[in-house]
Symmetry: C2
Subunit: 491 residues, 2 copies
């Protein structure tokens, strides 16, 4: 081993020893050690040295303390987010990616990793029956949705990217249960959040195609430029799947871009049992798909995929001679990306997919649905609990009757038993149990409900109705609005 490599060898060895210790500890400790920020800051010094730094022993001691204080999202007691658990092979891929530090803009810099990213997005396109499709990884699902919205804008108003907005307002359509990135992106792209139409949903939380059609027609009648329909495959709270085929009919009728926000649910195409939820997805113009959710790879790994090639390039290409300079343009993925420098989010998914194969993911996704079904059955059979809606996929929303959902979640966390979150459904505050950990079994679900009943017994009663007149009305279940388009001069 030469001199140059020795410091790396030493530091990596320390990292692996610490990881080994952490794995041991992780299994023995509560899922989270509750401490408010001020209390945690008092016992964990995170200040940085103004003068000389600390030696390796001191640095790794501090990192050890940090790891021990970290909420353990990798365990089967973490139901709080739309990711949970750990795929060791994916993490191994991520570890290797960290050490080789490849930037993914050009083939010159990325070499085989450019081929890998392309192979992954091609494989994902194939699963969606995008036979002439392509894709690129984006830094998270919100920005993957953003990419789709910009491509749609450029199709509707090709001069927008150079000359700015046309006189008429642009309008876009999504269900009232969509992810918050849709209105946020409308803000960021300059279309304006008030030009987002939130379409009504049915009893399962699925967008109503007729209401969508009417909203588009109303905007057309007012002289707006409708440009984008978002259908969600796996809504954030209820896990509902908007019906793609009838929505695609509406998109086709009005010649609008149809995007599928499949951050959570696109992975269902890998499940033989559940892929019917995405019937019609091949008719969409774009899909985003987060492998860091149901597929369990480390954060983040989000793909934006298009049915036709060249659309990402048309929207995101920007000449930069100092960067894009070799002759392998189809592998210079930076020209299709919202980013310039791009970390390597591909290697971890490549490693995991090689190991699991399509067959392994088929079993995995089906298992996650089964866990949610098991949880829903427990709620149905318990006379003291109420299911919010029949779950369509991997999240289960419910209440313990007469007990405030937020208080229950907080008690589970404070006692270090389980980490789970609450959400709003039909103006009620409910517990959202996210079943995204493939290591979990029905025993873990049973244990969760055992703990929940335990804290519920001690919890004072209270109401879960959300006051609709409250100033902080929850946007994750905001009322349907089909407003008149707001155009220029609104300031």
């Amino acid at each position: 081993m030469n001199d140059h490599a020795q410091p790396a060898r030493d530091a990596f060895k320390r990292a692996f020893q610490l990881l080994d210790k952490h794995l041991q500890r992780e299994a023995e400790r509560p899922v989270a050690d509750f401490a408010p920020p001020a209390e945690l800051a008092a016992r964990l010094d995170v200040t940085l040295p103004e003068g000389e730094g600390r030696d390796l022993d001191a640095v790794f001691d501090r990192l050890d303390q940090v790891l021990d204080a970290t909420p353990r999202s990798t365990t089967t007691r973490f139901f709080n987010q739309l990711f949970s658990g750990r795929d060791p092979v994916a993490v191994a891929g991520e570890i290797l990616a960290s050490a080789i530090n490849t930037s993914m803009y050009t083939y010159k810099a990325a070499g085989p990793h450019a081929l890998i990213e392309r192979a992954l997005t091609d494989h994902m396109c194939k699963k969606l029956a995008f036979h002439n499709g392509e894709g690129v990884l984006a830094p998270g699902g919100s920005l993957a949705n953003f990419c789709a919205m910009l491509m749609a804008r450029d199709r509707a108003v090709p001069t927008y990217k150079d000359h700015g907005p046309p006189p008429q307002p642009l309008t876009l359509y999504t269900s009232n249960l969509c992810h918050y990135s849709i209105p946020k992106n409308a803000n960021m792209m300059g279309v304006g959040r008030h030009n987002v139409r939130r379409i009504e949903t049915d009893h399962r939380g699925r967008m109503l195609p007729d209401a969508l059609d009417r909203a588009i027609q109303q905007d057309l009648d007012h002289g707006a430029i409708p440009f984008f329909i978002n259908a969600t495959a796996g809504t954030t709270v209820l896990g509902a799947f908007d019906p793609i085929d009838p929505i695609a009919d509406v998109a086709h009728k009005h010649d609008l871009w149809l995007h599928i926000d499949g951050c959570l649910g696109a992975s269902a195409v890998l499940s033989t049992e559940h892929r019917h939820l995405l019937d019609g997805v091949h008719r969409a113009d774009s899909v985003c798909w987060n492998a860091h959710k149901a597929m369990g790879v480390p954060l983040s790994c989000s793909a934006i995929l298009t049915r036709e090639r060249g659309l990402l390039f048309d929207t995101f290409n920007q000449t930069a001679t100092y960067l894009f300079q070799s002759d392998e343009d189809q592998f210079n993925m930076g020209t299709m990306s919202i980013q310039c420098g791009r970390r390597n989010d591909a290697l971890k998914l490549f490693a995991a997919w090689l190991h699991h194969g399509d067959a392994g993911y088929d079993r995995r996704i089906t298992h996650l649905f089964d866990l949610a079904r098991h949880a829903a059955d427990i709620v149905r059979q318990d006379p003291h609990m109420t299911l919010s809606k029949d779950p369509e996929s991997m999240t289960v929303c419910f209440e313990v009757d007469g007990k405030p959902s937020d208080d229950l979640c907080e008690r589970l966390r404070r006692d270090g038993l389980e980490v789970v979150g609450f959400a709003h459904v039909d103006r009620r505050r409910v517990i959202r149990l996210a079943c995204l950990n493939a290591d979990a079994t029905t025993d873990d679900i049973d244990r969760f409900f055992h703990h929940l009943r335990q804290v519920a017994a001690d919890c004072p009663g209270g109401d879960n109705a959300v006051d609709s007149s409250a100033s902080a009305a929850p946007s994750d279940s905001a009322p349907t609005t089909v407003a008149t388009p707001r155009g220029r001069g609104a300031q």
Copy 2:
């Protein structure tokens, strides 16, 4: 060790063993094995299994082949990008972050990592004399610049985010040598690339404040809404620093948001010798600063920092009850971020900064400048080479007289000697030597020039003039344009 942890332990051990092998090999192999994509694809199978997956031996064999074929950006022969080398402690931090898989939106999910991100951005603010400042990490410098542009938009036109554009066009200002993300972001935010004014630069590549002032006045006279000035601290090609104080005077005169794109050069505030290049930075409204460039942490680690608190929240906050639900709002960094789910880019910089301290970074940044100075001296003393401009910081642009720069770069890469890129300066194609690897010494610079002379001897003569009438005019040195604002209806 319990059952649950054992698969992780095994996979991590394999990753560590492969890394050890890779470190050994990295020192012995050429910086890059040149192969066009088709050739590489023929010898490296990156297809994914449609059925069952591969066992761990097969997966790690494949990963081994991938690592071996990866351009070695971590070595001292890689001068191609504005990052190079490897900080082992930072990589150790990244390895740990990969394994704990923390999402950084809320304190509930991130715990100590929210404190760490805040401590890092507070420390960076302090270095910039932003005494009431704050910041957040963004997924790369392009998007960090984008965040600044959106905050500036919202200050100029507070109704924009809800209601969309006003009738008048918005205009923004940057030098003709700025990073390509500025016009790209103007596209993405819907302002339009033609409303970006590219201001002239001086003989060192620095924006001319008088020309800036005139361009703003001209747009005001035409009824536009100027909203944003970008000054670059360390331009992408020349490493030039726009003069902040006189530009801040212009910004103050017209009441415009002043942003410093310090992706490359903000780190110079850590160098006692070179921080004068950023004199006046405390007057800026925002700064972006990439720790993955001159500070050497793995990709990506980009901060967007503001002089005043609350501005990031005002632009990016979007209610989401299911997510932002605990009472530690100042540590719910997702409310200030362009992302929803956020990978942990903080731990690696925390580990590195603990280890190096401000004092270590002072030495590091000064060393990088010294390397560039050494390279510039070599060029000056060689009668067969011409320096493009006196370098201000860490990049050196020059030509070998009568030899095409692109051909020379390609020969160095094909022979596996060095990886370096070319760029355009004053309509000439030049070699851009980026001195960003803190492990490099003057011996490495000497070796680079030895190899360059070697390939130059075999290289046919040719001209480096860039045809200004060519259809693909290079935007990284585009001619100054002060156009009439293009408003609505341009389509």
